[in-house]
């Protein structure tokens, strides 16, 4: 910088400081001036109308500024919610940990035999994709299955006629509890009828999901139809000559009709009906043990839920009773589909040749703001015991330190159709990290 420039810069700086000081003095004295103006109305009456208008405007501005200054509420005006709360458009990322302890007296009853286990960590990434779609991805991480896609679906948000369509992988809308994440259940495991008819982790499917709500009779109804790649997971160790879903009739198709009524402000009931059908691999006996053949299997069912929660004391009191009944309907005598060159002589269909029924009844009562007591009775016709009934009775004590953590202890008496009964003592701890999720209903 030259000397002249430096001199000009200093002079400019001094000038700026003087102007700044002048402006500061004027601004600082403005409220006082305004106060004087408001108390000298008689003296201003001699001024011209235009002067009066200008002064009145100034007074109005100053009064507004004074009023704003008096407002003590502007604690942090720079962080008003008018601005975007997510300027980088990041998706919601959350994680749920599901920890299990099994203190059963005759050894662990867990799939992998663990006494203590991280059953699953579920990581969710959720956001609007664009104005038309929303995306939800749930990854499940467990010691047994490593990383799996629990759910990943695109939901169309801008469809006419109040339709909702999803594409991807999702919990199948069959039955009531199957639509709930396992860690959100009021018990530690899915009811046995779901475990046996579907899987330990419920039933998921990959395909298209369409739902519509309506109320032609004055109460809430929802119809959900799905078409999925197949009914359930492939049966381990069985190979069919062609995929079970080679024909469209082999895909999985489901329907669920929900009916919901408010009985009062505090109580309501839901009565719903579900069905799913598709082809699954079933064993062929008398030959290669890996040989399978497709056979149709369907499950139909109904579920009932009654809820009570008084509005004013809803933090402390609630009650829910729920029951589901399902029937698995099996194709009795399917045509064996065998590889070319394999003679059907001596081969027999080894899949189920009868229907099976199962269900559960569950109730949960809220003891305190954070404590709940639940009980469940399970019964199902066990395929492994030629349809004889396996029963289980269980009780649960839940404690919620907050909305984001849950501790549960459970006892179960499991009475299989064949063999001796077992006592199970289970512990569970779940925790949720990340954005506040809606409470499941």
């Amino acid at each position: 910088m030259s000397g002249t420039s430096a001199h000009h810069a200093r002079a400019y700086g001094i000038q700026a400081m003087l102007w700044g000081a002048f402006v500061t003095v004027v601004v600082a004295s403005a409220p006082a001036s305004a106060q004087r103006d408001t108390t000298r109305r008689d003296t201003t009456s001699r001024r011209t109308p235009s002067d009066s208008a200008r002064i009145a405007d100034s007074i109005a501005v100053v009064r507004e500024l004074e009023r704003l200054q008096r407002e003590p509420r502007a604690e942090n005006p720079g962080q008003q919610p008018q601005g975007p709360t997510n300027p980088r458009l990041l998706p919601d990322i959350s994680a749920v940990g599901d920890l299990i302890g099994d203190l059963s007296p005759k050894g662990s009853t867990q799939e992998g035999g663990e006494r203590f286990n991280v059953r699953e960590v579920e990581v969710a990434v959720q956001a609007a994709v664009d104005p038309y779609f929303r995306g939800d991805v749930f990854l499940g991480i467990s010691d047994l299955e490593r990383i799996s896609i629990e759910q990943a679906y695109l939901t169309a948000m801008a469809l006419p006629w109040a339709l909702e369509v999803r594409l991807g992988r999702y919990l199948m809308p069959v039955g009531k509890q199957n639509t709930t994440h396992r860690h959100d259940l009021h018990a530690i495991d899915y009811p046995y009828v779901i475990q046996r008819f579907f899987s330990d982790e419920g039933l998921k499917g990959t395909g298209i999901y369409a739902s519509k709500i309506f109320a032609p009779f004055g109460f809430y109804q929802e119809l959900i139809l799905t078409a999925v790649d197949r009914f359930g997971e492939p049966t381990d160790g069985l190979v069919t000559i062609e995929p079970v879903n080679k024909k469209l009739s082999g895909l999985g198709y489901s329907a669920r009709l929900r009916n919901y009524w408010d009985l009062s402000q505090a109580s309501n009931i839901e009565l719903s009906f579900s069905g799913i059908t598709g082809k699954r691999e079933q064993p062929v006996l008398g030959g290669d043990p890996t040989l399978g053949t497709p056979a149709r299997q369907s499950v139909i069912g109904t579920d009932f839920t009654y809820r009570w929660r008084p509005l004013q004391q809803g933090l402390y009191k609630s009650f829910i009773v729920q029951a589901e009944l399902m029937q698995q309907i099996n194709e009795k005598d399917p045509t064996l589909e065998l590889p070319s060159g394999v003679s059907p002589d001596g081969l027999l269909y080894g899949g189920p040749t009868r229907n099976f029924t199962g269900g559960y009844a569950f109730a949960r009562y809220q003891l305190t703001r954070r404590g709940y007591l639940g009980a469940r009775f399970d019964s199902f016709q066990d395929e492994a015991a030629e349809g004889s009934a396996t029963n289980a009775v269980s009780g649960y004590l839940e404690f919620f330190p907050s909305e984001f953590s849950k501790l549960m202890v459970g006892y179960e008496r499991y009475a299989p159709a064949e063999g001796s009964s077992t006592n199970r003592i289970l512990l569970q701890a779940t925790f949720a990290l990340g954005p506040h999720k809606p409470h499941p209903f």
Binding site: Q80, M157, I213
Partner: protein
């Protein structure tokens, strides 16, 4: 066809037969407004008058954080023109399920019918620094109980007037007149509160939850402690012991609480300190007779003054 095929076909068929009955709605001239709380509902009614129909999801005596996302609420939202809510995550535990379930494009974020009333409010208790759940059930965007300041009531009314006028321009003059009338009634009521406000100003009180922060800012009452050690966390014995000491030192005479909390704990603290438990409705309809916003504010301020 076998028995199970018939059963499945019947289930699918029954469902499909009822599907065409879906979505029967009748066009009505009035704007349909659904609000999350009774306070927003009442102000919307004051501004909308007979040009709107309005319903609300929560009741005034219910904890607005913990409303159940019942399917019947989805039906209310399905055909609504406006969804007005408090915001600042007050409804985060249930609103997303209802909006997603309603599938109403008018109520999606960014649409004129998606009205977050908090955007016109000067918010208190905005989260600073590192906010996490070790601080309780915090609202990082700020305290959402802002309707208990009459200035915010006016701002909400202004927001409703603007929203309704945008969606129903032909009745804009009606909405403007209604908002003006509401503001005048509120101004008139406010003038009658002055003696009560003078009694309240500077007085130490204890509150259960942070619901009363805006009322405290407005009235000048001094909240010296909360029954909850952290927002949403029930009081522990250790916290109550400290709170009792604080109340004795500050001579706090009143414990203000909402009707949806269990008052046994507050009664215990009151018995140890000689204080009075004042159950104040935080919302319209919180107790019988509080049918509108101005009545709510008048009643709460009067009860506070009488207790202090």
């Amino acid at each position: 066809m076998r028995v199970h095929d018939i059963a499945v076909a019947l289930a699918l068929g029954a469902a499909l037969v009822t599907a065409p009955l879906a979505g029967t709605s009748t066009a009505q001239a009035q704007l349909k407004i659904v609000t999350s709380t009774t306070d927003l509902y009442d102000i919307a009614k004051q501004v909308g008058g007979n040009k709107i129909t309005a319903t609300h999801i929560g009741e005034g005596y219910q904890d607005p954080h913990f409303i159940e996302a019942k399917p019947s609420f989805v039906l209310q939202l399905r055909n609504a023109d406006v969804w007005a809510f408090v915001g600042l995550d007050l409804e985060i535990g249930w609103m997303p399920l209802l909006l997603q379930g309603a599938r109403n494009p008018k109520l999606q974020p960014g649409q004129p019918g998606y009205v977050d009333a908090s955007r016109v409010i000067t918010v208190l208790d905005v989260g600073r620094g590192n906010v996490d759940r070790s601080q309780g059930d915090v609202h990082p965007l700020g305290n959402p109980h802002y309707w208990l300041d009459p200035e915010n009531g006016r701002r909400i009314a202004r927001l409703f007037r603007e929203t309704f006028s945008k969606l129903d321009a032909k009745n804009a003059s009606v909405y403007e007149a209604n908002e003006k009338a509401f503001t005048q009634r509120l101004d008139a009521a406010e003038r009658t509160w002055q003696a009560d406000l003078a009694k309240i100003k500077g007085q130490p009180v204890v509150a259960w939850h942070t619901s009363w922060r805006y009322l405290a800012e407005y009235t000048g009452m001094n909240i010296v402690g909360f029954m909850e050690p952290k927002p949403g966390v029930p009081p522990s014995p250790a916290h109550l012991a400290g709170l009792i000491q604080t109340m004795k030192q500050t001579r706090a005479k009143v414990i203000v609480m909402e009707p949806f909390y269990d008052r046994k704990t507050a009664d215990f603290v009151a018995s140890k300190t000689g204080a009075k438990v004042l159950v104040l409705p935080p919302s319209v309809g919180g107790t019988k007779g509080l049918g509108d916003y101005i009545q709510l504010m008048t009643s709460d301020i009067h009860q506070l003054a009488a207790a202090l």
